[in-house]
């Protein structure tokens, strides 16, 4: 395998060429916060948590979609990046209605975990408290838009892994919503196969099975990664 030299936070590493900054950091044990990233599906660089500073580049680059190049000098934990990660986290919480105490994903939630990681003890921006729909029309599952953070992992996993493309995005700006088919109730979808992959891909408690209550969600996003890796195996 081709390797190249890169410097991450002042330490030099030999890393595989053609990998993303995020993959490389994971490999050498440098933690990078992510939300819209899920290994196995296409990266889109949307959540802006994984931004890094690269010497000689005058803008912040998303580590999930930026490939390493020889002699790249990368910084992942500058004061500025930490400040921005904190603001992004605050905006996630302020955008919709995240009430951990009554959420099925309590203790299993990537957003909650992110809050702990950046040391979130208060949100300095006004909560928007939008009125969001809860769609319970599917016989087994529920989608609660109050808890959705628009990472679109469900959209990508449904399209790329299951091949159903039940989920998509509608609207613009802060009024974007995840929709089923052409904005029909999930239960009436003609494309959904009820495979449940979106439940596992969802980082929060926005999509969950009906049979559970607070804190009982049991999900495994790694399952998606494993499935994709096994598909790619040479037999």
């Amino acid at each position: 395998m081709n390797t190249i030299k890169v410097t991450i936070n002042n330490t030099s590493y030999d890393v595989p060429a053609n990998a993303s900054i995020l993959e490389v950091c994971k490999q050498v044990g440098v933690e990078i916060l992510t939300m819209c990233h899920l290994k196995g599906i296409t990266d889109i660089g949307a959540c802006r948590l994984c931004l890094v500073e690269v010497e000689g580049v005058n803008k912040l680059l998303p580590s999930c979609t930026t490939k390493v190049v020889p002699n790249m000098i990368i910084y992942t934990e500058t004061e500025k990046l930490k400040r921005y990660q904190r603001i992004t986290t605050e905006l996630f919480f302020a955008e919709r209605n995240h009430m951990c105490a009554v959420c099925v994903a309590n203790g299993q939630c990537e957003l909650q975990e992110l809050g702990y990681k950046v040391g979130l003890d208060a949100i300095r921006y006004p909560h928007l408290f939008p009125q969001c729909e809860v769609d319970t029309s599917h016989p087994w599952y529920v989608i609660d838009h109050n808890r959705c953070i628009m990472c679109t992992r469900c959209v990508r996993v449904c399209n790329e892994v299951e091949g159903a493309h039940n989920w998509d995005v509608m609207g613009r700006g802060h009024q974007v919503r995840i929709i089923s088919d052409f904005n029909t109730p999930w239960g009436e979808s003609i494309t959904c196969t009820s495979c449940g992959k979106c439940l596992h891909a969802c980082p929060t408690g926005a999509i969950w099975p009906k049979a559970i209550v607070q804190g009982q969600l049991n999900k495994n996003p790694g399952m998606i990664t494993e499935l994709v890796e096994k598909r790619c195996m040479k037999l």
Binding site: I44, A46, C47, R48, R83, G171, R172, H174
Partner: protein, 553 residues
């Protein structure tokens, strides 16, 4: 058609133009058509027939003449006499005066109502005299629906020249030498962009013309597409030849129905003449062009979102790198240029890069079209050399502020730009000068504001625009613009606190630096620039809050 036949066709077109007839053009741009210029044209043509003037006078429609609020406009060539606010009745007077009595009708002349002595030759009027037209040279003096009229003005001669006399490297060299920079807003050197697409080896490459003009109050691209669509098409053909592409897409804003219609007519005519298609003029160069109509999203002016939209996907941007030059439309190397950039190309080829680089400033070559609007006497579409001062544009061309008002600031670059206050009235309109003042060139919107204008309201308006137009993909733009809008509104309404202003400034820096694309990246600009020059207005509003709360207590 082969090369000789094209040359003959161009020669014929030129001969036809020099037939000694008077040409009378009726502006049929969107704005003049809205005040019924099409009927005026019909009445004019009948009147010419009735008076038996067919051998002396030819009437035709033209594109935008630049003064949209004075429409419908009529121009008589070669005297360059312009008439304003012409109706079906007054057009008869004009014909009678111009061609029977040989005396212009003074009361109908352009600016007859605002200037004590209106000019018979409109080119002598300060509004036109202080302009320099390159892009809009033929706009308003040719029939945009007739390819022969374009050929009579050297149309397709540049394409013929590159096809038979120049290698792709030479074409790129000429563009690089000209110093032409992208007119979409960012100002990236066009020659370098062309070269990088040229260098990516691939069987399939694309040229995209970005006509998704969306800044509020800006209509530069619309006027070029409506007034001289063939110049854009010729630019696309030359670009295709230079970078090795065989397919072009013109992405035009959906609201621009007339521009779409005129551009499609241009494509059809060029195809009929064999200028578009396979093995053009018997060479190995093939090029086809299709129009794609935008569906009303501002963000689709961003190149990666535009490409997604052409592919039939939701118009959302994606991170760069990879740049479109490497992996653009359907993953292939793609050149994407603005309408205005492309409409310069044929003149650079004909007159040389050296000629072009001598217009404007050392680092910003050529001219720039601005949509001059707001609190100004003569608003409209103007073209000036880069580096012209704001003062010249506002006072010499625009005639200053109406009703003896006082100039306060001018907003350039629309929702992505900033304001230039009165103390910088001498600022030069070029890429670097505007950037150093915290604004941008942008696509060419220029909104003049007088003393009555509330700058907090200006910031609120543009933030609302960005909030509505954010695609919602990345967090800083989706949530950040909404938060910023709410905070500005709170301050504007007199309910803001010092803490709100601090949060606002913190968010502005965050959204600017972390957003995925240029929409979010530039959304805080109007706020930051009004804070830079008019911070006192924000502080005034904060004081209001204290006052109100005391009353309530």
């Amino acid at each position: 058609m082969n090369r000789l036949e094209l040359k003959e066709l161009i020669a014929n077109a030129k001969a036809r133009k020099e037939n000694g007839k008077h040409k009378i053009f009726v502006c049929c741009g969107t704005s003049c058509m809205a005040s019924d210029s099409e009927t005026v044209l019909k009445v004019l043509q009948e009147e010419i027939k009735n008076l038996g003037l067919e051998n002396e006078v030819e009437a035709a429609l033209s594109g935008c003449m630049g003064l949209c609020n004075q429409g419908p406009l009529v121009k008589v060539m070669p005297d360059n006499t312009m008439y304003q606010k012409i109706t079906c009745d007054t057009i008869k007077e004009v014909v009678q005066g111009q061609f029977i009595n040989k005396e212009p009708i003074r009361k109908l002349l352009l600016f007859a109502d605002t200037r004590p002595e209106p000019f018979i030759n409109a080119e002598e009027d300060p509004f036109f005299k202080n302009q320099k037209k390159v892009i809009l040279k033929d706009c308003g003096s040719i029939n945009p629906e007739d390819i022969m009229d374009y050929m009579a003005h050297d149309g397709y001669s540049a394409f013929e020249k590159v096809l038979f006399q120049m290698s792709p490297e030479e074409v790129i060299g000429e563009i690089k030498h000209s110093g032409l920079r992208g007119r979409g807003g960012a100002g990236y050197p066009a020659g370098l962009k062309w070269e990088s697409v040229y260098r990516h080896v691939n069987d399939q490459k694309y040229v995209i013309c970005n006509g998704d003009e969306g800044d509020p109050g800006a209509f530069m691209n619309r006027s070029v597409l409506e007034g001289n669509p063939h110049s854009v098409l010729e630019g696309m053909l030359i670009a295709g030849y230079a970078i090795g592409a065989n397919k072009g897409y013109a992405y035009i804003r959906g609201e621009y129905r007339l521009a779409v219609k005129r551009f499609e007519t241009a494509i059809k005519q060029a195809r009929q003449k064999g200028l578009i298609g396979n093995n053009i003029l018997g060479t190995s160069f093939s090029f086809n062009v299709e129009v794609r109509i935008g569906a009303g999203a501002f963000v689709c002016g961003e190149e990666t979102a535009l490409i997604a939209s052409i592919e039939g996907k939701r118009g959302t941007p994606s991170p760069r790198p990879p740049y479109p030059a490497e992996a653009g439309l359907w993953g292939k190397p793609t050149l994407i240029n603005n309408v205005e950039t492309l409409s310069n190309i044929h003149q650079i080829i004909l007159n040389g890069g050296e000629w072009f680089s001598n217009i404007g400033t050392a680092r910003s070559a050529g001219t720039k079209v601005f949509a001059l609007a707001g609190k100004i006497k003569y608003s409209g579409l103007i073209e000036v050399p880069m580096g012209t001062s704001l003062k010249e544009v506002v006072f010499d061309i625009g005639g200053g502020i109406p009703n003896d008002g006082e100039f306060k600031a001018a907003q350039t670059g629309g929702p992505s730009g900033g304001c230039i206050p009165v103390e910088h009235l001498d600022a030069k309109l070029d890429y670097e000068s505007l950037a150093s003042l915290g604004s941008i060139m942008g696509s060419g919107g220029l909104i003049v504001m007088d003393k009555q204008t509330d700058m907090v309201d200006v910031a609120r308006f543009f933030m609302e625009f960005c909030m509505d137009e954010s695609c919602g993909k990345c967090v800083p733009c989706r949530v950040g613009t909404k938060m910023m809008h709410d905070l500005i509104l709170k301050i504007y309404e007199g309910n803001g606190t010092k803490n709100d202003l601090d949060r606002l400034e913190e968010l502005a820096a965050y959204v600017k630096e972390t957003s995925l694309c240029g929409l979010g990246g530039s959304a805080p600009n109007p706020l930051l620039s009004t804070l830079r020059y008019f911070r006192n207005e924000y502080e005034e509003k904060l004081k209001q809050h204290k006052h109100v709360s005391h009353e309530h207590n």
